[in-house]
């Protein structure tokens, strides 16, 4: 058996002006909302529960269950907040979706809001994707004009406001409680849980925070039914998902497939690793998921199998590196990211990422000290499980997994610079001559 692609969300991305309401409706758009509005909200929640849809933003929490955890209606507002703060290194699926098909999100939000009894929904989109923001703003305006949003949606008496809220550059705002603080006009720092957002979220009201791809998958489930969705994927990881291949592959890009497909199968479709090279390491779901190597080519990319193999499915962001790549260099760049994006609220993450970068930089420069590897692992041990939120935990994944599979490269960092062992011009997609670092003005390293 070989798995084939199952374009659902991506099925109409190649249509003429795919982002417009006219194009979306021509491909069957908003039929899901019409059907949903004729259903009982509780039935909608049950359908999504039965479909087995799990959060596509990385954590994989069952979506219908998340909705059913909302505190019971008390007459006050309940909120739907969509997390469009796509920032996890390697993850590049929601932004192309918003560029090509923003109405899929708007329709999914209208259905979800109706299902959970929400009358004001928000999209929190990162501030660094201008054109995706434009497309989303326009889609929302079109949906208001067509009566899919606003007062008395499609004459059903259901009212729904939808606000597009633009962030301002902070990875931490992808963490759902930090996102809520940011949406309330505060510094984006995570909140202590409990209470969970389902009980006290936005403005301390019951709130569900869901990823773009998750919510965009809802119209299809409503139209096709739960068993249509479970006919794709595996028993516990149902449905379709966007797999984003990047790096040293012949044809990087978006591949929408049933969960449970393998990297070997995806690579076959993507033309393989770039010519003349071999797979060295890869991330199954972004930089916060422990690295895999060539021995994991046949791991089914579903939540359970990837977990059993020692990593996480995450956002299905498959960053692929060939044998020319220094794992020490790659891990150092990732940790520089976490260090910069640590919000500073908790000590293990704020201080830990700082020192991890300091040690990694000397290893990258071939100036590591004896005991540095143990020091790295000890630092990770003091972050993992002790950080306030998942950002700190995630920062340890590339370090510990890289040491596990490529310890000898870290040992080499005690005497030989990474760019001597692995000349960067061999990894880049174009030919160039690296400059000696001393010649550079103004480089902040």
């Amino acid at each position: 058996m070989a798995t084939t692609l199952t374009p659902v969300l991506s099925a109409h991305w190649d249509a003429d002006r795919a982002w417009s309401m006219a194009s979306y409706e021509a491909s069957g758009g908003y039929a899901g909302l019409r059907k949903a509005l004729a259903m009982a909200p509780a039935d909608l929640v049950t359908t999504v529960k039965d479909s087995g849809l799990r959060g596509r933003g990385g954590a994989g929490f069952p979506t219908g269950m998340k909705w059913s955890f909302l505190s019971p209606p008390d007459g006050g507002p309940r909120y739907l907040v969509v997390n469009a703060d796509e920032s996890e290194p390697g993850t590049c699926k929601d932004v192309p979706l918003l560029l090509a098909s923003p109405h899929a999100l708007v329709e999914g939000m209208a259905i979800t809001a109706f299902a959970i009894g929400c009358h004001h929904a928000f999209v929190y989109i990162r501030g660094e994707v201008l054109h995706a923001t434009r497309r989303l703003q326009q889609a929302v305006a079109e949906a208001y004009a067509a009566g899919y949003l606003g007062k008395d949606v499609l004459g059903t008496g259901f009212d729904l406001e939808l606000t597009v809220h633009v962030g301002a550059g902070a990875y931490i705002c992808g963490e759902e409680t930090a996102l809520l603080d940011s949406l309330e006009g505060l510094r984006g720092q995570p909140r202590l849980k409990p209470p969970f957002p389902a009980a006290a979220g936005l403005y301390a009201r019951p709130t569900t925070v869901n990823n773009v791809e998750t919510i965009a998958s809802v119209p299809g489930i409503v139209l096709g039914g739960a068993s249509w969705f479970t006919s794709m994927g595996t028993e516990r990881s149902a449905g379709h998902g966007l797999f984003s291949l990047s790096g040293h592959v012949e044809r990087p890009g978006q591949y929408e497939a049933p969960l449970g497909i393998t990297l070997r199968e995806l690579l076959e479709m993507a033309g393989g690793i770039r010519k003349g090279h071999q797979l060295k390491f890869w991330t199954p779901g972004g930089s916060s998921t422990p690295l895999f190597t060539a021995e994991h080519l046949d791991v089914p990319l579903d939540y359970e199998s990837v977990g059993k193999a020692g990593s996480m499915l995450g956002t299905r962001a498959l960053q692929i590196f060939d044998e020319t790549t220094s794992v020490v260099r790659a891990v150092t760049r990732w940790l520089e990211f976490y260090k910069h994006e640590s919000c500073g609220k908790c000590t293990p993450c704020r201080e830990g990422t700082y020192w991890l970068v300091a040690i990694l930089k000397r290893l990258e420069g071939g100036q590591g000290a004896p005991g540095d590897i143990e020091l790295l692992l000890d630092l990770c041990d003091n972050i993992l499980g002790r950080a306030f939120c998942a950002l700190g935990d995630g920062a340890t994944s590339p370090v510990t997994s890289a040491v596990k599979y490529f310890r000898e490269e870290f040992e080499a960092g005690m005497h030989t610079p990474a760019d001597v062992l692995f000349p960067p011009e061999n990894s880049s997609l174009f030919a160039y001559t690296p400059r000696p670092r001393a010649q550079l003005a103004g480089v902040h390293r």
């Binding site: 002006r17 509780a42 096709g224 990047s246 591949y255 990211f337 010649q439 480089v443």
Partner: protein
């Protein structure tokens, strides 16, 4: 007319406010922003984008304006502004040029592009060329890894860049020539114009540019070539009609359903599992 904002010089007073017509205009915009939210403090981030649209950075007078609008102290506004990378503490160039140097882009060539631009422009991270045209930044993963290495200009995508294409790009920007992103509007707008869109005031350019780049469509193309598709709705017995997927009774007129209390077991418990059909996402090898 508004005086051009200048960086605050230690020991000197800074421009302390907007003139009356500017203030009136900003107040109208601020009111539109505040009206989007159930609680007005939520308007702070868009208000700071609005300040950047006016002054090209989060100016002292802009902080005062935001604080007065929302009933906050300037310290509270500053505390928020300093948290977010996109809020600038000193006047930004007309164009922010960001080179992605997170791991994937760095390895694919982002580091090389960065080195080239630093040398070519003679400036480093978060520094601006003397002509005020370009502010250079090392940026972090911008959700376009399948187009690596990526350069962003005022947060528009320039995909699959090289050192040569990036230097040509900044030369065009400095010469005032219009530049066109790979996936974005027909032309990159200025930092101030961009900030106004981020504040929630559309600029009418949403229909410009492509819907998707080649990497976005690569999987769809493979599916088309092989005749692969997701299963059709209705192939599984419960999706063909527009009745609910469980055994619930008819829900009556639209609208009344929203108030319905649970009446059947299916309202509160999932229906019995239906037998699973063969997985249509799979096929025999070679077929």
């Amino acid at each position: 007319m508004t005086a051009e904002p200048v960086s605050r010089v230690p020991g000197q007073r800074h421009a302390s406010g907007y003139d009356e017509p500017t203030r009136e205009r900003l107040l109208a915009d601020a009111a539109a922003i505040v009206a989007r939210y159930p609680q007005q403090r939520s308007a702070l981030l868009p208000l700071l984008h609005l300040v950047q649209a006016e002054d090209g950075y989060v100016s002292p007078r802009g902080i005062t304006f935001a604080a007065q609008t929302l009933g906050l102290t300037t310290a509270e506004v500053s505390a928020v502004a300093t948290f977010y990378t996109q809020f600038k503490r000193h006047p930004n160039g007309t164009y922010t040029v960001g080179v992605c140097t997170t791991a994937l882009c760095a390895v694919m060539g982002g580091d090389a592009i960065w080195e080239e631009l630093v040398e070519h422009l003679g400036i480093g991270h978060d520094e601006t060329t003397d002509d005020g045209a370009v502010t250079l930044e090392r940026v972090e993963c911008n959700a376009a890894c399948d187009y690596a290495p990526v350069v962003m200009v005022n947060w528009e995508f320039f995909d699959n860049q090289t050192p040569d294409s990036a230097t040509a790009l900044v030369d065009d920007l400095r010469a005032g020539r219009p530049v066109t992103p790979t996936r974005g509007a027909d032309q990159v707008v200025t930092f101030k114009q961009m900030s106004r869109v981020l504040a929630g005031f559309p600029d009418g350019r949403a229909d410009e540019g492509v819907g998707a780049g080649p990497a976005t469509l690569v999987g769809l193309r493979v599916a088309h070539e092989n005749g692969w598709a997701a299963p059709a709705h209705g192939e599984h017995g419960d999706g063909a009609s527009v009745t609910p997927t469980d055994a619930a009774p008819p829900t009556g007129t639209p609208g009344s359903s929203a108030e319905r209390t649970p009446t059947t077991p299916a309202d509160s418990a999932p229906p019995a599992a239906t037998p699973r059909a063969k997985r249509p996402g799979t096929q025999e090898k070679g077929s």
